[in-house]
Assembly symmetry: D2
Homo-oligomer: 258 residues x 4
């Protein structure tokens, strides 16, 4: 089976890029299933029912999240009800929503787990290593993709090696910049430190560059607006042997839209 | 002029990789000058006179540093005396060493600036935006490479856009994982969020993966050892029009050593 | 001269406590001048023209701030125009407002400096040690109080010792809990690590305890409301020899309102 | 029953202060049991068998720790073997030692729990709220003191309120500066945000002030040495009704040694 994974969708423009390009990409990469991180898909941050709807309508099968998943209360009901809309599984037990889903493709099943890192993140969630151990103990399929939403490269690589041979893929998100270190680890797990984002390329993580520079330079409160212009859809395609759950290949995706 | 830049050299094994491969890479990419970040070149962290010597002997013209530059007191005298050994320019005025050097190639000059970011870094150094403004005001050549040693992608992209059109290249270091976002910004500045490292590929930032995973998973004190095995030399080559200082191209380098 | 200093005023209830008690305290402690930290005086965080007005009307001569000073844009104009409304002096040069004021009491002058720390604070402002050196070089009076708004006890004590003999008092704010380490340092500077706050005593830093506990326990987004009930006005009184600027005494104030 | 609690003992000088004063203090406050935080009792940081021995020999019944508990490998065996030497209970299950002990006084039992906070702490340990719930479920006595080793006042107050009515006392440690907010919470739990330290008073958290100031001011690597001179033993005495576990009173202790 082939999975197309796309990184953090940023704002209305990111959603438009998906509308425009996702079906083509799915075909081009012969993907059976599409997983998209949507934690920043609402304008102004977080997720809204409308941004999530737009991502599903563009062809996503599963939507993952991250540290911004719970920013907007309007999404809580959808997080509770929609089986394939995930937030990090190591959030507190009281958090709305869930962090794991299993898709049944008849011939095989495919599980997606959303997990969040701790290093340099503001909030203090449950240890992701203990959390993923518990999740894996409860899963019946060998075909498992983990979206590890984290900042530090050391934490992401550590999770990759920790899960090597136990899941099909560990794909990082959150930094909005794609890394160039895709590989199949020795145990058969596909790994990429960060998938990157879907949004304006000529921007700072999707935000208008002038605003981001000014904020960074002065440390003064700044109202962010998302940029448009050249677009990028960053992600990867993983080819999984669905009988064993081992990855055969991982290829980076960087789809530029002028 | 063509500049070969290599990211954080990790330990004795990283130095050996340079010894083995740097001259070949320089030839292969027709580089006129070689800049290497050596902040982790000593075993156990930081830089030592011996590790710095080994990097120079392998063909480096300039060695930059970062948050680990001052870990070892043995290097302080060399930092003070060696013109082309840099530490971040925005360290405190009392710090040993310097953060800028200018190489005179007769037909043109080439300046290297080492700068450190603030986001998620433990120490609180001088604002890098104010610091680089001062440095640039004192430089006579348009051919300038900035090694921006920083963690957060937003801070690195912001620095890239801030310096666009004012320097030839802004190359990030510190995360030890190469990013795939190389580009020439609209003002003519070459940009890459992180060059990556030179060290063991099958490792966590150069450290033995078992040790790094255990530390990350348990948060218990762990003595790190560097890994060997498959090596990677990660960096980039920038082609600069030395009359204007504008970059013509930037190409990522990922030299695998089995 | 005698200075009454009160720590971070929290919300409408904190302002009410000042209205009710400040004139009495001023008389009780025979204070010549009153300095109040108002960074949290608006409901929901930051400062508003109305909360600042209420603090002045209650008898404050100078209002200082901190990391929340610029949360509300409505206060920017007042920060620019009102001579005795301060924000940390080591904010970026582009920030609205100023960080120093000098009151002329004919027989002597009295300066207040607002300064912010770096350790554990989210934003990266200018080095407070360099900033205060510059400020002091420009002040003509020996009677100087520094409100050092900072988190880490080590940074606050370091600033106290650094300024010992150069200012009359270094009083910490920001943690909202009064410390019990008031003293006159060997050079004659009065010091207190944290003055504490003015707000509801049976609360978490002024916030309703149930909400704060839930947020801390679950790390989930929580809308904070300020508590009422028992009140506390925490601060200190410093007696300064206005001919030398040396402090004669520092006494903690903890005024409970049932 | 009456408990004397003393905060973080700093280095050889802190241990000497205990030798000199602890028995007198125990008598003076008519304490039945003495609990001392010893996480910094070794010169140069952490705990050593010798520093722990010195604290026991001075009269401590229980020694607690914190983020520095595991700095020195020499203490691991003692942590495993000594029933009354604690490290934070929410460290990883693989950590040496334990975080709870119960003393049997025949007429009643008394439990001490060592717990660590997360906010602003470098390491990511288990959620202290979940951890303490589990610990309390396993304790048979109502007489329970929690040493909550944490930085942020909000986290410490939240823990106090969370445990109000469930334990006899929540006493904070780690900042090395005593706070002035001792109180009996409405459910009968004694609370103090920070007990303070045992070490040199004219110092930065026990460290020579010149060294600490220089480090803070320049952010350059600095080798710390502990200060001597005037000493302080900071802590508190809690009077507990051992039939109910409710605290009758809490009084701050600040014993100055010239
Ligand atoms: Fe994101
Ligand atoms: Fe994120
Ligand atoms: Fe490095
Ligand atoms: Fe680094
Ligand atoms: Fe405050
Ligand atoms: Fe504050
Ligand atoms: Fe301590
Ligand atoms: Fe500590």
């Amino acid at each position: 089976m082939r999975v197309l994974f796309l990184g953090d969708v940023v704002g209305a423009y990111g959603c438009e890029l998906l509308e425009k390009r996702l079906r083509t990409l799915k075909k081009q990469y012969a993907a059976d299933v599409v997983v998209v991180n949507g934690e920043n898909s609402a304008e102004g941050n977080g997720m809204l029912p409308s941004s999530v709807r737009q991502i599903y309508d563009s062809g996503a099968d599963v939507i993952t999240g991250g540290n911004h998943s719970l920013r907007r209360r309007e999404i809580y009901k959808v997080l509770d009800e929609e089986e394939t809309l995930l937030r990090p599984v190591n959030f507190h037990a009281n958090a709305p929503g869930k962090g794991v889903c299993v898709l049944d493709f008849l011939r095989y099943c495919f599980a997606v787990v959303n997990l969040q890192g701790l290093a340099y993140m503001v909030d203090h969630h449950r240890d992701p290593f203990a959390a993923i151990d518990e999740v894996l103990a409860g899963l019946d399929t060998p075909n498992i993709l983990v979206d590890f939403h984290a900042e530090a490269t050391a934490e992401k690589l550590s999770m990759g090696f920790y899960l090597d041979g136990r899941v099909s893929a560990v794909i990082g998100t959150h930094t909005h910049v794609q890394t160039a270190d895709e590989r199949i680890l020795s145990g058969g797990t596909a790994y990429l430190t960060d998938a990157g984002m879907c949004g304006s390329f000529d921007s700072v993580l999707g935000v208008k560059k002038e605003l981001a520079v000014e904020k960074m330079r002065t440390q003064l409160p700044t109202r962010f607006e998302n940029a448009r212009g050249q677009g990028i859809l960053w992600g990867c395609v993983i080819d999984i042997d669905e009988k064993t759950g081992r990855a055969r290949s991982i290829e980076r995706v960087a789809d530029r839209v002028e």
